[in-house]
Each structure stands twice: as C-alpha cells, then as structure tokens.
Symmetry: C2
Subunit: 155 residues, 2 copies
C-alpha cells in the first residue's frame, strides 16, 4: 500500500496538511521546485489517493461544541456481521467523530463531540437504542491539551 514517495513528496504533503490554501507558487518555492514540476507531483499525489481533499478546519468551541467524550463500549456479540451492523448504526449519529474496534478491556471506542450534557445524553440514548451493549462508559474530556495535529510523515 505504501507508495513510493521521495523527500520532496513528503515535504509537499507536510506543507499542505498544515495549510492547504497556499498557492502552487509558494509551495514550489518552499520545496525547491518549479511551479510546473510541482503541478505534476500534485496531480500524481491526488491520483494515488494519498491526498484526499482539502477541508476547512473549524473551531469546535467557537461553535458551542464544548463537550468531548470518549465512549468505551463492551458488547456480547463479536461476529463480524454484528460489528458491521453496529458500525452503520453508529455512523448515523453525526456527533460521533471517530469509531474504532479496539483490543483490551473494551471492544469499541467512540469519540463524541457535542454541545453539553443534554447533547451527550441524546447521543447515549441513540447509541443504546436497538442495540444490547454490555457496558458503556464515557470518559469526559475536561481539557483538550492537543488536537488535530499533523501526521508525522517521518515516522
């Protein structure tokens, strides 16, 4: 799956994951390419699917989305069919930002972002309606200390 990327590709991606509004002129200067050569690389990086679209970053707090909860779920049924059904169920809840099937003491972990406790309660009810979950525990974020950081492209 890992595509062949050289250092320049990595630098282009790193610049863009931090600021996608830069002009090709600026990016080309930063990575030491002509605008034309950069254009060809950008096209290739798009085609391979490594870059999958620019997104505007929004400030959740400024939008009144003040509550972040990490929800741990333990279930009884562990078949893949049930898991996929559960995924679709959760995907219909827009306050869920992220969902993972995890190892350890729990089966699933969800990240929920909403306005307040009433909003979380609504998510909780929707989550548990129609699905028999063994245990559901919310870990409430009291302080977001780091968020939305760029990927480490040198890892």
């Amino acid at each position: 799956m890992a595509e062949k990327l050289d250092d320049i590709d990595r630098r282009i991606l790193d610049v863009l994951q931090r600021d996608a509004s830069l002009s090709q002129r600026d990016i080309a200067d930063r990575v030491g390419l002509s605008q034309n050569a950069l254009w060809r690389r950008l096209k290739r990086l798009e085609e391979t699917g490594i870059m999958s679209g620019a997104r505007m970053h929004l400030d959740a707090r400024a939008l009144g989305l003040d509550l972040t909860v990490f929800v741990m779920v333990r279930t009884r049924n562990h078949s893949m069919e049930w898991s996929e059904g559960f995924r679709k169920h959760v995907a219909r809840i827009p306050q869920v930002q992220e969902m993972h099937r995890i190892g350890g003491d729990w089966d699933y972990m969800l990240k929920v972002v909403t306005t307040n406790m009433a909003g979380y309660d609504a998510v909780y009810r929707r989550l548990t309606t129609g699905y028999e979950l063994d245990t559901v525990t919310g870990f409430f974020s009291m302080e977001t200390m780091l968020e939305d950081r760029p990927l480490d492209l040198h890892a």
Copy 2:
C-alpha cells in the same frame, strides 16, 4: 464564546469543512447567495476565528501509518503546573495526534498514530522518559471504523 450564526453561516461552514477547495462561485450557488455576499460572510467567519485554515487531508494508511493506539495514563501528581509541563513534554512527540485530560479511572488520554509496533515502542519510551507515570495502558485500534468526520453543526 458562541458567535451569532444564522442558518446560512452554518451551511457555508458545513460545505467548507467537507471540501475547502470549492470556489466561491460554487459555494454561493449552494447556499443561495451572490458571490459578493458570500465573500463578506467568509471574511467575517475568518475574523471571528471560527474558520482557522484549510488543511489537506492525508490518508494515513497510504503513508504507511498503520498503527493507531489510544494511550491511557494515570499519574501521581495532579497539580496544574505538573500538568502543563507534561503537556509540553507530550507536545514534542510528533506521533501524538491528540491529548486530553479526562475524568474517570484515568488522568490523560493520548491518540498515537505511527507505522508499527516498533514505532509505538519509540513513542512509549519517549513518553515515559523523565516522567514518573503511575500506569500507562495502550488500547490498540484493530479497525478504524469511522474517522475524521465533519462536526455536527446542528447539535
């Protein structure tokens, strides 16, 4: 903190958080505004800080970043000074995408994205070097079922 946003503002933000590469012409058509009126709203939304820059979305898997771990940390020292020092310590680790101070059985939760188990071990060592942590447990994501979803602007 919550700014005064009408439905049109919300629709603009919703369109842009899904695709920041759209032209003002396209956005204006979608939300039913003239390009000129849209421009003024965009300027205002930028100034208030609700929109904080476009970012290119990268496919972690295509970049070989195949391992996601949620790290739960329990500490002994719970002073705010220690917490801020710990935050700065963690902020220097580029594989950490997210860090929260949480309530419940744990004190902190970190999201780590890296290449493989060796990469995670490097993060673990760096995390625990110089800081006496009571307990550190990693919940390994076996399957990312939902990720990077847009915020729910109607919550």
